[in-house]
């Protein structure tokens, strides 16, 4: 899939009200593959933090044990981060403000994850 196609997919995410930005990141090396509207966020930071979160969540899953994580939803007092596995090692990530339609965002990211390949 082309970079242009990935950026078009991310463009569908950032039109949801309250979404601050979206990115496609490779969690094995913590690098950004594509990003959209991450104006006030450093894409490299987002990728590195998501990679670390996925790694930590995978360790919790192994300890229980369960299957590996495929979605992570971090809800903070000042916003939300949603990350969903697309095509390993790629994860789709969105960062949203408080009050964003998180349920709609989850559904959209799930749909788009299947289109990344």
């Amino acid at each position: 899939m082309s970079l242009e196609r990935w950026e078009r997919l991310l463009g569908e995410v950032i039109v949801i009200p309250g979404v601050r930005g979206a990115a496609l990141v490779a969690v094995d090396d913590g690098l950004v593959v594509a990003e959209a509207a991450l104006d006030q966020l450093d894409g490299a930071d987002v990728a590195a933090l998501v990679a670390a979160l996925v790694s930590r969540a995978a360790r919790v899953a192994r300890s229980i044990p369960t299957e590996p994580p495929r979605l992570i939803h971090l809800a903070g007092e000042g916003g939300t981060l949603l990350a969903i596995e697309a095509s390993a090692p790629l994860w789709l990530v969105a960062v949203a403000e408080p009050g964003a339609e998180v349920g709609r965002l989850r559904v959209l990211l799930g749909d788009l994850a299947g289109a990344v390949g």
Binding site: L53, V60, I64, P65, L74, G76, G78
Partner: protein, 251 residues
């Protein structure tokens, strides 16, 4: 309130007004009992057992508002005070607020998991409640409950990760959950998301929720992959509330 088991709760070495007030209460001399208790509380205003006794007297008088206030004061003096929790559960039960009664008893059972009278009371309350599948019981002390409480260092305090998981798995999960919460806290700070409210991790066969519980502790809820996320969070938030009170009682 006629529960004579409260008499045995008078702590050894406690001020004598507790014993006298309780005896008067049990003989139905409620005004005299109240006078003795109030005089005692003037001398020992932070004695939880004194406020607990005042709660029982007020409940016997039928003044639920005053009783609730007294038991609230007991909990302020001693978080997790069993007598106060029982009393508040009794008031809620008498007012047909079975959900509130259950919450108070759940906290009490978390503090005293082998207290037969508490377990019996919890069973009675639950039998009176309408079935509410989303409002499942919180059993922090039960390793099979899929509710795990760990401290900031990743040491397991209570609970476990499910009926088929060993204690070793629960210990490992507590250690890894502390690390995950630390990472989530760092990510939230660096991304401007503020303090962590919760973290949900979805796997093919399970859904996990991690909630911070003061001070620095973490609650992990483990449910099947088919559990709705909203229900998972509702359960986890109730458990975090119980855990917060349980931890306060330890301090």
């Amino acid at each position: 309130m006629s529960d004579s088991s409260h008499a045995s709760l008078t702590p050894a070495g406690a001020p004598s007004f507790l014993d006298l007030g309780e005896r008067l209460r049990q003989h139905g001399q409620l005004d005299a009992a109240a006078t003795v208790t109030m005089n005692g509380l003037r001398q020992w205003p932070t004695l939880a057992a004194g406020h607990d006794l005042r709660g029982r007297i007020e409940a016997d008088r039928g003044d639920d508002h005053a009783a609730a206030e007294a038991w609230g004061a007991a909990l302020a003096c001693e978080p997790g005070h069993l007598g106060a929790l029982k009393g508040l559960a009794f008031l809620a039960f008498r007012g047909h607020d079975f959900a509130a009664a259950e919450r108070h008893l759940e906290v009490a059972v978390a503090r005293a998991p082998h207290d037969a009278t508490l377990l019996g009371a919890l069973d009675r309350v639950r039998s009176r409640r309408p079935a509410a599948p989303a409002d499942e019981p919180i059993r922090l002390d039960d390793p099979t409950s899929g509710l795990l409480l760990g401290d900031a260092d990743g040491m397991r305090l209570s609970g476990g990760v499910g009926p088929e998981a060993s204690a070793e798995a629960a210990d490992a999960a507590a250690a890894e959950t502390a690390g995950l919460l630390r990472e989530a806290t760092r990510s939230a700070r660096l991304l401007g998301l503020g303090g962590v409210k919760h973290l949900v991790v979805e796997c093919a066969d399970a859904r996990l929720a991690v909630l911070p519980v003061a001070p620095g502790a973490a609650l992990l809820a483990v449910r099947s992959g088919s559990t709705p996320v909203g229900r998972l969070l509702a359960t986890a938030q109730r458990a975090a509330g119980v855990a917060t009170q349980w931890l306060a009682g330890l301090q």
